[in-house]
C-alpha cells in the first residue's frame, strides 16, 4: 500500500520542485481555510461559552469575550448534570455496540463457517434489510417497543429500548462474513483435528484474527450511536435517562445561551479527544 513516505500523485522530486512548492502552498492554503471552517463552530462555542449572555447576543465581531467567565463551564457542568448525560450516552452507545458485535460476529461466523440451510436466502435477506431506509420502519418499531409482542412490556424509558434496535446492523454482519471468509481454511481444519468445538474456534480463531476490523466497526458504530438523536428522543422520556444529544437539545429551551454553549462545548470534547488518540488505529480502516 502506498504510504505518504514514497509518493502520492506527485513524486517527492516533483513535490520539492518550484512548481511542486507552489502546488503545496495552494493546497496548504485551501486546507487551512477548510480547517478553520471545520473548527469554527468548536471555537465559537468555546469562546461564546465564556461570555455573559448579553455579550453573546451583541452584534459585531468579537470572537473573544471581554471577560473570561470560566465559571460558566462549572455552572453548565453542574446545572445540566453533565456526568449523568455522559454516562447515559456511554451506557446507550456502549451497550448498543456490544450488542451489535455479539449479534453480528455470531451470525457472520455461522454464515461463513457453519453452512446453515438456507444460507443464500439469509444472505439475500440481509442485503435487502441493508437497503431498507431506517425511517420507513421508525413508526412501527416505536409501536412495537412500547408493547413487545407476546410479553406486552413497554421498553420506553429503558436502555433495552435502545440496545435492541442498535444491535441490528446488516452492514456489520456482511463485513464480518467477508472477513471470516478471508481466514485461511487450514487454520480451522487444524483446530478441528485437535478436537476444537465450533464455540472454541469462534472465540480462539475467528474473533482474534478479525479483531482489528471488529475494533474499527465498533468504533464507527459507537460514534454513530453516541450521536443518535431521534430514537433516544422517542424512547427516553425521562430527563435523567437521556443521552447528551437529546438532553442538551431539551435544555436549550430553559438555559441561558452562554451556559448552554459552554455545555455544548463540553459535550464536543470527549469524542474529539477520543479521535485524537485513536486517529492512528482508525486511519485507512474506513472503507465501505
Amino acid at each position: 500500500m502506498g504510504t505518504s513516505g514514497n509518493r502520492a500523485i506527485m513524486s517527492n522530486t516533483e513535490w520539492r520542485s518550484p512548481v511542486g512548492r507552489l502546488i503545496f502552498l495552494f493546497y496548504l492554503f485551501l486546507l487551512t481555510l477548510g480547517s478553520i471552517l471545520v473548527l469554527f463552530p468548536f471555537i465559537f462555542s468555546f469562546t461564546a461559552g465564556l461570555k455573559t449572555s448579553t455579550e453573546v447576543f451583541k452584534s459585531g465581531i468579537h470572537l473573544f469575550p471581554e471577560e473570561w467567565n470560566w465559571g460558566n463551564y462549572v455552572e453548565a457542568w453542574q446545572r445540566f448534570k453533565m456526568i449523568r448525560m455522559f454516562s447515559n450516552s456511554i451506557i446507550a452507545a456502549g451497550g448498543g455496540v456490544l450488542g451489535q458485535i455479539i449479534v453480528s460476529t455470531m451470525a457472520a461466523y455461522s454464515l461463513s463457517r457453519l453452512k446453515p440451510i438456507g444460507k443464500n436466502i439469509l444472505m439475500a435477506i440481509i442485503l435487502i434489510t441493508l437497503g431498507i431506509p431506517v425511517m420507513a420502519v421508525l413508526v412501527p418499531r416505536y409501536v412495537i417497543m412500547t408493547d413487545l409482542p407476546f410479553i406486552h412490556i413497554s421498553l420506553v424509558n429503558s436502555f433495552w429500548g435502545l440496545w435492541i434496535p442498535y444491535a441490528s446492523s446488516p452492514f456489520m454482519i456482511l463485513i464480518l462474513t467477508n472477513s471470516f471468509n478471508a481466514i485461511p481454511r487450514e487454520i480451522f481444519e487444524a483446530a478441528q483435528l485437535d478436537g476444537a468445538s465450533e464455540v472454541r474456534m469462534f472465540f480462539k480463531i475467528a474473533i482474534p484474527l478479525s479483531k482489528s476490523i471488529i475494533f474499527v466497526l465498533g468504533f464507527l458504530a459507537f460514534i454513530a450511536l453516541w450521536g443518535d438523536f431521534l430514537w433516544p428522543y422517542l424512547i427516553m422520556r425521562t430527563p435523567e435517562l437521556q443521552p447528551v444529544s437529546v438532553r442538551l437539545y431539551t435544555l436549550t429551551r430553559y438555559a441561558p445561551i452562554n451556559i448552554f454553549l459552554a455545555g455544548s462545548f463540553i459535550a464536543m470534547l470527549p469524542p474529539t479527544i477520543a479521535a485524537l488518540f485513536l486517529a492512528r488505529r482508525i486511519r485507512g480502516g474506513i472503507t465501505l
Binding site: 502506498g2 505518504s4 500523485i9 506527485m10 502546488i23 496548504l28 485551501l30 486546507l31 477548510g34 480547517s35 471545520v38 473548527l39 463552530p41 465559537f44 462555542s45 453573546v56 452584534s59 450516552s89 450488542g99 455470531m106 451470525a107 446453515p116 440451510i117 435477506i125 442485503l127 435487502i128 441493508l130 437497503g131 431506509p133 425511517m135 420507513a136 420502519v137 421508525l138 413508526v139 412501527p140 416505536y142 409501536v143 412495537i144 413487545l148 435492541i164 441490528s168 467477508n178 472477513s179 471468509n181 478471508a182 465450533e198 450521536g227 438523536f229 431521534l230 444529544s245 437539545y249 436549550t252 454553549l261 459535550a267 464536543m268 479521535a275 485507512g284 480502516g285 474506513i286 472503507t287
Partner: protein, 307 residues
C-alpha cells in the same frame, strides 16, 4: 484397504445428508440475529405496509380502510412539497457533498507529513452528536448577534435571516450537513486513494502527464466505484433528512424545509395517526427502492472484487 474405502464412501454419503447436530449449532449462532432482526426490521416493515391500509391510533387498530390513507396522502399538497424539498436537498447536497470530499481527499493525500493532521481535523464534526452541532450552528446563523452576519458585513453583504428566509433555509441546512458529513466521506475516499498502485503514477509521470491529467485519468477512475456507492448512499441518507429541520426550522419557513420524515414524525407522534404515517413510510420505501437496490448491488460487487 477395502474396508477403509467403504468407510470413506459412507462418510461421503452421510455428508450429503443433513447433519442435524451441525445445523443446530449453525442456527444457535444465528438465533440472536434472527430474533432481533425479526423484532426491529422484518416485523416492522410488514407492519408498516399493513398499517398503511388501516386506521391506527394511540389505542391501536381501528379497522381496515383500504386506500383511504393513500388518498389522504396524495390529496394533501404537503406530500408534493415535502418530496420536492427532499429532491432539492438531495441535489444541493450532491453539489457540495461529492466535490468537496474528493478534492479534500486528493489534497490531504498529497500533503505528506501534514496529511494525518488534516485528516483528523476534517473528521471532527462527524464525531460530535448532530444535535449538539446543530444548536451551535443555530447561534452562528442567529439574527441576534449571529457571527455569520457580522462576518459577511465585513465584505459588504447585508445581514440575512438565514433560517427564517424560505430561499436561504435549504442552503443553510445543506451547509451544516456538509460540515457534518464531508469528513467521513473524505476518509473513505482517502482509503481508496491509498489503494491506487503507485506504479501507475510513476508511469504517468515518465510519460509526461501533468498532475491534472493524472488526477483525471488515474485517480478519479480508480475511486469511481466508491464515488458511485457514496453518491447513492448520500441520496438515500439526505432524502430521509430529519434532525436538521426538526431542530433548526421545525419544517418552516413556509414549509420550505419540511421533509418527508419530518412529516412522518408529526403525523405519528403529534397527531397519533399511525395509519397515515405508515402510508408516508411506504412512499419512502417505494421512492428510495431504486437507490437502495443500486447501493446494495454496487457495494456487493465492490466487496466481491475486493475481499
Amino acid at each position: 484397504m477395502t474396508d477403509n474405502a467403504g468407510f470413506n464412501r459412507i462418510k461421503i454419503k452421510s455428508h450429503r445428508k443433513i447433519n442435524w447436530q451441525q445445523q443446530g449449532v449453525a442456527y444457535l449462532f444465528l438465533l440472536p440475529f434472527l430474533a432481533i432482526f425479526t423484532l426491529v426490521n422484518w416485523y416492522p416493515i410488514l407492519k408498516t405496509i399493513l398499517s398503511s391500509f388501516q386506521e391506527v391510533n394511540l389505542s391501536g387498530f381501528k379497522g381496515w380502510v383500504g386506500f383511504f390513507n393513500y388518498t389522504r396522502m396524495f390529496g394533501n399538497p404537503i406530500f408534493y412539497t415535502a418530496w420536492k424539498n427532499a429532491l432539492i436537498f438531495v441535489l444541493l447536497s450532491l453539489v457540495m457533498g461529492t466535490m468537496v470530499p474528493i478534492i479534500l481527499a486528493i489534497m490531504i493525500n498529497e500533503m505528506r507529513r501534514l496529511s494525518s493532521f488534516f485528516q483528523t481535523i476534517v473528521y471532527l464534526p462527524a464525531l460530535i452528536p448532530v444535535a449538539v452541532g446543530l444548536i451551535v450552528w443555530r447561534q452562528i446563523y442567529s439574527p441576534e448577534g449571529g457571527i455569520l452576519n457580522s462576518l459577511l458585513q465585513l465584505i459588504g453583504i447585508p445581514p440575512q435571516l438565514w433560517l427564517q428566509n424560505p430561499v436561504l433555509a435549504k442552503p443553510a441546512l445543506i451547509i451544516i450537513m456538509t460540515w457534518i458529513g464531508a469528513g467521513g466521506t473524505t476518509l473513505i475516499y482517502l482509503s481508496g486513494l491509498r489503494e491506487i498502485p503507485l506504479e501507475l503514477y510513476e508511469a504517468a509521470e515518465l510519460e509526461g502527464f501533468s498532475v491534472f491529467k493524472r488526477i483525471l485519468y488515474i485517480t478519479l477512475p480508480s475511486i469511481s466505484a466508491r464515488i458511485k456507492i457514496l453518491v447513492v448512499l448520500q441520496i438515500i441518507f439526505v432524502a430521509q433528512v430529519f434532525t436538521e429541520p426538526f431542530i433548526l426550522t421545525g419544517g418552516g419557513p413556509a414549509n420550505s424545509t419540511r421533509s418527508p420524515v419530518l412529516e412522518i414524525y408529526d403525523t405519528a407522534f403529534n397527531r397519533w395517526d399511525f395509519g397515515l404515517a405508515s402510508a408516508w413510510s411506504v412512499s419512502i420505501l417505494v421512492i428510495l427502492a431504486t437507490f437502495s437496490i443500486l447501493y446494495v448491488w454496487w457495494s456487493q460487487r465492490k466487496h466481491a472484487g475486493e475481499v
